[in-house]
Amino acid sequence: MRLYFFCIARAKNLCWRGAKTKSKVMTMAKRRILDRLTMAIIGGDEISAKETSEECIAAGVDPLEAIKRGAAGGMKVVGEKFRNFEIFLPEVMLAADAMKACMAVLVPKISEERKSETSLGKVVIGTAAGDIHDIGKNLVATMLSVAGFEVYDLGTGVSPKRFVETAEEVKAAVIALSSLLTTSLAYMEDVIKLLKDTNLRNKYYVVVGGGPVTPEWAEKIGADGYGRYAEDGAEICKKLVTEDMPPPLPKCIVEGV
């Protein structure tokens, strides 16, 4: 009888230790997948980011955890490396592409009520009408991705109407306008006019930047934010969406001056 109870106890003990080991093995396995996801983002490997995200789902990793601890961790490293000029714009763009690929797999698996935790908000960005320059806009778009925003990049020469329509379609929080040509500045003002004329001004923040854009111009046209450099644009967007200041702001937030 004593031997019987000893064996049961021993078996339970072994089961318990086995369960603890099994749990440790699961955690380590999850961590490895998340590390690989981080590396896929840092390396700008879209295919690997997609496949590793699918592995996360298959392995039972919480998709929100995968985004926050895996993918976002990678973007943080990328942002740091870019600030230190260890990598440059192309690497950041590829990292942002990899992030998009990962989000495309993971976000649909997140419950509706938790979806808002996947990003700081949506930003519609483009170069103003009549301007084909994109490098400044690309830089801001990637900095916004690094910062945790979901970015809808409309490209160059974007009409005011398209900015507003896209913002409505994707339910954006911010419309971000870039321009390198002075002759395109008027179109930035047109976006704000259009928002006012269609009673949408209090739905979207408008942030402006680019070579000829100045804080004075931003204030004059009624923009909510102006950034001198790309990282300033990301900082402003963070402030706008996290602080309790509905658009339009009484005074334009200016960064980098």
Partner: protein, 462 residues
């Protein structure tokens, strides 16, 4: 310039290999740049502690690598997303046939842009200013005040803020009208300055095709026989219908072309070494694809959108020495100051930047970019005069001497490049009646001039 060549280029813009703009920027350019830097053993050769290069072997290697990059990659046409490639033989022929000198302007104001080599004694040509925006009422007095300094050879800017009081909107008839109006105002200004024959490269107010259609080769506009048509393309290694329209228009008018772009450290070209390489390739491709008579692909640093810092100075010195040593092409460059008029900083930046371009064999420069080109009316004739004085005065200097002077001056402004002083507007630092600088601005100018002369910059005082 020939119809056959532009037709060839247009054909390639429609039949060349397909590549999205995104892939070009994020994959093709960076990977090819890395490959060439590695193949030619010029990775990590940037020496910020010695911003003005004097290593001929290094620049010759950059030239070879840049030539190969130009042939391997070509230029992407943005509108068709097809690559316009040129062969090794074609590029060599374009370079061989490109002019080594070019007259511009007429009469007493006629000048000749000539090919220069590093440390060349022959003085270069200065064009002033860049397309800084200026209000309509100040345009003529400002240009007149710039043109009064005979050391300045050609004009490009400034840009008009409005046309008959209306904002100039890109892609609209306002631009077409602005092109013609700018031409009239420029010609009125130089006539008032007693320099009616000055040459221009235009139309800077409206860099899209509409401005050129409106102001170049039309009655009363810029004369194609003595003024250049200006093409500005986006970075890196890109052309577009806008640029190609301008080529055709220049051919139609019997004109000639000044074609350029900016290469960005930190952008698609990556590090300073990548930017130097892309600048070499880009300069050559302006001649092949845009049929330029002279071309410009200077390097900027996207951390502060200027190029008077160490890395950008190094990259520009290498790129321009590579071209001037190995070709007879007429190369142009730009010093991109970030400080504004009526500051010591803009003069320090100009000293380093212009001295570098002069000793690196650049034929022609356009500038200054006062206050980074950001603020309306923040441009004055005095910094225009200064850039010309340094650019020409340093002809014949040794690169090693220029480097030592640059090392002494850069610390005076290097930590202010991201947040520079705005300075003062034209109205604030110039007397609009006499068109002379205020005492304050003149005193700053004389003080800095004396200081840099004491360091060894060969200028005349006052």
């Amino acid at each position: 310039m020939s119809v056959e060549t532009i037709l060839n280029i247009l054909d390639r813009a429609h039949t060349g290999p397909f590549c999205t703009v995104h892939d070009w920027d994020a994959k093709i350019i960076p990977s090819k740049v890395k490959e060439k830097l590695k193949e030619h053993g010029v990775e990590k050769t940037c020496t910020p502690q010695d911003p003005i290069n004097a290593d001929d072997g290094l620049v010759d290697e950059y030239f070879k690598a840049g030539f190969e990059l130009a042939v391997d990659v070509g230029m992407l046409c943005l509108d068709t997303e097809r690559v316009v490639k040129v062969t090794d033989t074609e590029l060599k022929e374009v370079i061989r046939n490109a002019p080594s000198e070019l007259p511009m302007g007429e009469g007493r104001d006629k000048i000749r842009i000539t090919h220069r080599r590093p440390e060349d004694r022959h003085p270069p040509i200065q064009t002033c200013p860049l397309g800084i925006v200026v209000s309509e009422d100040l345009f003529i007095p400002l240009v007149q005040a710039i043109a009064q300094y005979r050391i300045i050879d050609l004009l490009e800017g400034p840009s008009l803020e409005t046309v008959y009081g209306r904002p100039i909107r890109s892609g609209t008839p306002y631009e077409t009208l602005a092109g013609r109006v700018q031409a009239s105002m420029h010609k009125e200004a130089v006539w008032r300055a007693g320099r009616p024959g000055m040459g221009f490269d235009e139309v800077i107010t409206s860099p899209t095709v509409f401005g050129q259609f409106g102001g170049y080769g039309v009655p009363g506009g810029f004369d194609p026989k003595r003024h250049a048509a200006l093409i500005l393309s986006p970075s890196e290694l890109k052309t577009s219908y806008t640029s190609l329209h301008k080529v055709v228009h220049a051919i139609n008018c019997g004109g000639f072309i000044f074609s350029g772009t900016f290469v960005l450290i930190g952008g698609y070209a990556g590090p300073p070494e990548g930017a130097a390489l892309v600048s070499v390739a880009s300069n050559m491709l302006q001649f092949a694809v845009h049929q330029a008579s002279y071309a410009s692909s200077p390097i900027m640093d996207m951390r502060y959108m200027g190029n008077c810092g160490r890395e950008a100075q190094w990259a520009n010195s290498v790129a321009y020495q590579a071209l001037s040593r190995n070709t007879h092409l007429l190369t142009g460059a730009v010093t991109n100051q970030v400080a504004g008029p009526c500051t010591s900083m803009i003069l320090y930046e100009s000293t380093v930047g212009m001295m570098n371009l002069s000793v690196s064999g650049v034929s022609i420069s356009v500038g200054p970019r006062s206050a980074g080109g950001k603020y309306t009316n923040y441009i004055s004739p005095l910094e225009c005069k200064y850039v010309a004085e340094v650019f020409k005065g340093c002809a014949g200097m040794k690169r090693s001497d220029a480097n030592e002077i640059a090392k002494a001056i850069i610390p005076k402004y290097g930590d202010k490049l991201r947040y520079p002083p705005k300075g003062k507007s034209f109205r604030e630092c110039f007397d609009l009646e006499t068109l002379k600088p205020t005492k304050e601005w003149r005193d700053i100018y004389l003080k800095v001039k004396k200081e840099v002369m004491d360091l060894g910059v060969p200028l005349e005082y006052p």
